[in-house]
Amino acid sequence: MKRWRVVLWPVLIFFLFTTTAYGQQAEIKILHVNDFHGFVEPYQPLGSEELLGGIAYLAGRANELRKEKPSLLLSAGDMIQGDNWANLFQAESVIELMNQMRFDAMVLGNHEFDFGQEILKKRISEAGFPILGANVEGLGSLRPYIIKELKGIKLAIIGVVTEDVPASTHPRNVAGLKFLSPIEAVRKYMGEVKNKAHAIIVLSHIGYPADRVLAEKVNGIDVIVGGHSHAKITKPVMIGKTLIAQAWEHGKALGVLDLTVKDAKIIKSEGHLEEIKPEKGKEDKAALVVVNKYKEKVGAVLNVRIGEAEVDLDGENVRSRETNLGNFIADVMRNLTGADVAMINGGGIRVSIREGEVKVKDIYSALPFDNYIVAIKLTGKQIREALDHGVSGVENEGGRFPQVSGLTFKYSPSEKRGPRIKEISIAGKPIDCDREYIVATNDFMAVGGDGYKAFGEAIKSSGDFSVIGGMMKGEKVVYSDSSRWLRDVVVEYIREKKKIAPKVEGRIIEIR
């Protein structure tokens, strides 16, 4: 009898499984978003003439579509890090919103790591939906896959994130974690789920080019719902037998994929993107309550006192001469990175801050751009060229005028031809043109913004960096942390120091 039981149980399980799939046809809907980055409000994208997005409108449209047929609402990652609405609350606001919108699953994106592992674990514990990461080792609270059932159809959803996470956040945010090959992870878990599900969906944050490779290399994936490359895939693309979809960015579009499943196969599919526009009366009221709740809190957080300036901080003259605010910001960058020198374009500093209490909003107004800090090795010769470029437009108050730390220089603005820079000292010694120095700057200047070419040359000659054992290893690149904006680094610095009194101290001397 026991032997018969051993034989019969698998047969019975197979029978039960297949009877729900075979001979039955079901129509289901997959709704999806990716790379939301906390953009709750409609906005006018650069170069566009209309307002797009608005998460309450997206939620309203998702609710309408859910009424048509059994549906899943999925997120392909990077829901956080971007807009203040998400950043100022370390994404607590985003998770509350996603709970309200009844998301069914989400895969981690690279930016979900930006606030560190403790915060990430807290956010995962607050989420009323599973958060996936099949190729992430070391973060216990993640799940590699889930199986959701809609109208008798079992859907396996496997989540994978880019292996490049360590290169796009601070090394401490990923210390102790391993990011395995998404392809190998999907292969591994497909082996587990293929006999438990009627269709397999990969929720991916690896980017559209990598999604195409995944579809080509791994047979049996029915749908890839992707993110990371912010691609506006207006109609899902079929690669082999795999459909690939992605819904642009910032909640400006909702991905809609209708599937007809019969005999454990997808026999029909139709997908499209719906652009989200703010149409009065179409918003989801409950989502709007969450949006407004945190909008009110944004104002309160920006008004928080972080310290005291014992002197006026000059952000007016940053395009034409050394200022104490320029010195202060450059000093913060140099201290953080351990660089020999720091250099920032004056045009990146927009307003002055009066003596007295300093609030978060003062720093956000002075540093309004979404710039992050990088540090790169430059030769003395390249530093000289960079400074020469920096002062070349001083008569027009060009934004490229440098504010510096760790070096002093003299220049002659009356020089019409040839180099204007006359003397440079680093740590009190004349610059050595052949020696390499570590220079901290922002990502804008690093890629040649305001015409700075020296950093680009260094990047070009360096190959790239990797993160090994929580440390950045590269021939030229010493530091790159896109997980924190420069303004947030400065806010934290003032919070820690409590009082600041930077001076103009002869770092930049004009020779007349």
């Binding site: 290169a167 080019p209 895939i233 960096f465």
Partner: protein
Amino acid sequence: MKVYVNQESVDLLRGMIVKHALMSAGLLKEIEASKKVYDEWENEVGLDGALSEGMKIYLKATLKK
């Protein structure tokens, strides 16, 4: 990381995005003139979109798909 903007190569740090590629190529201002960025399969991509080694992007007047 090397990527291509309108067939011209630009060198960026890993983790940098479409916006950085356009800055490096000196083309970011073109976006204000209503041009948009597309990948090699003619999908529009956002300025914050991730890049990968060898990726090709193009800045063009709006495409009708």
